[in-house]
Symmetry: C2
Subunit: 237 residues, 2 copies
DNA sequence: TGCCTGATTTGATCCGCATCAAAGACCGCC
DNA sequence: GGCGGTCTTTGATGCGGATCAAATCAGGCA
């Protein structure tokens, strides 16, 4: 299921005006470099639930996520799934420790990515220490998030997990689209469960409990954070 | 508790003959670069249970672990602990997403590290794309391990967790000290529990069960892997 | 508008691991 | 070699979240 659609060169929509430039790996490049990079990348579109790359596939491209949300996940042979992260615009995808992908990535809703061939990108970054440092910075940030998530998975209760997720998700959305009391949740309850190491029933019950306690308001496709302070307290504790 | 002891310049024990050179970040450097780097680093020793750096402390150094084993962990305000990894010789420590450490690091037994001031190391790496790429490689490998560990924490049973830990630990030791049927476990049962998101009692019971099943043999400070195939099957499933 | 389908919520019950408690095993030290 | 402290193992019990089951909701489409 990798029906991608090329919708245009980034130069049709020049990198210098890219909305997510400051968030992405491209923040390390000046306008001249950006013009050069533009020739190497192309925009590709994915519809809801399409897979961009799968675990164990040979890595052949890097991607900048431009629009949309993606789920990054690993499967066990018996079908158990762990979502290792959600990607938002500005995230850089495709780095792997070996020649194969460590995890799978699908679009949650419709998504637009900027694709680079791995070899061309490697050649471009070869003698650009600023870009290498930027990639490093993003990788280390990811690692730090992964470590925070290990604490959540290993040591927190269901209620703490859900509250931490909601607060963290809201904070990430702020960087992309600015603050808002309404928090969109494009992913399904099953996705949230697989991210938090819970079942869908426990996630649903915990949402209901938080709503009864006046912490959140449940709406289709989003929640309202009625009592952010209380949610943050649950997330910190 | 940061009673470090300077025991000598790396040039007293030249980098070119460093036992862990090929495993470490230094594998990216040639002999001339290594001689230059030697002036920037110094060997520091830590006794069992001493803290090398603590969560939230300002980052001021990078380290190469030369000898010994370290535990890397995060604490919640109420004292719950999650060990995010164990470091072995060759591991590079001190990278952080912000100016502060994301986690704490203690020596488990006695440990020797090669310390570099962050600023001096940053200056040295500034225009060395090979070194930057090497750091990248190590960071991405860490990230990949972290993602594997999330699957373990979120989706595996106690028995799978313990078996996966034993097999993975053995595999890591092989890279450092070569293959062996006896697997040293320098860390305590509590450390293992906090790594796997379990309690000490569950870890102990699971060890006992694996021994009853003929998979392992429990010895003080180590285990014997009697039936590696069965342990690997538990780890894979 | 009303049906059909998948997602979500709610309910009842069960089980794996946590918790509480106590008995061994190991180690350093005198 | 004996003693005290810590770490590990074992036992008894309880609970949080999983599992099984069914009702309700939301959204797409005729």
């Amino acid at each position: 299921m990798t029906m991608s659609l090329v919708t245009g060169e980034p130069n049709g929509h020049p990198c210098t005006e890219c909305a997510i430039r400051r968030l992405s790996v491209c923040a390390a490049l000046d306008n001249a470099e950006l013009r050069e990079l533009a020739h190497l990348g192309r925009h590709v579109h994915f519809a809801a639930c399409e897979t961009v790359f799968a675990q164990e596939e040979i890595t052949s491209s890097f991607y900048n996520l431009l629009e949309g949300v993606m789920r990054l996940y690993k499967l066990l042979p018996d079908g158990r799934r762990q979502i290792v992260g959600f990607a938002l615009p500005g995230d850089f995808l495709g780095l792997a420790a070996s020649a194969r992908h460590n995890f799978s990535a699908d679009a949650i809703g419709s998504a637009m990515l900027c694709q680079f061939s791995k070899s061309a990108f490697a050649r471009f970054s070869e003698d650009r220490p600023d870009l290498l440092r930027r990639i490093n910075e993003l990788a280390v940030r990811e690692l730090s998030q992964a470590q925070d998530h290990m604490v959540l998975l290993g040591r927190r209760s269901a209620e703490e997990k859900v509250a931490t997720f909601l607060v963290g998700w809201r904070d990430r959305l702020v960087r992309v689209s600015g603050p808002s009391q309404r928090v969109p949740l494009p992913m399904s309850r099953q996705d949230i469960a697989d991210y938090l190491g819970l079942t869908i029933e426990t996630v649903s019950r915990t949402f209901t409990k938080l709503e009864r306690d006046g912490v959140i308001e449940i709406m289709p496709g989003s929640i309202g954070l009625l009592d952010p302070a209380r949610a943050e307290a649950l997330a910190a504790a």
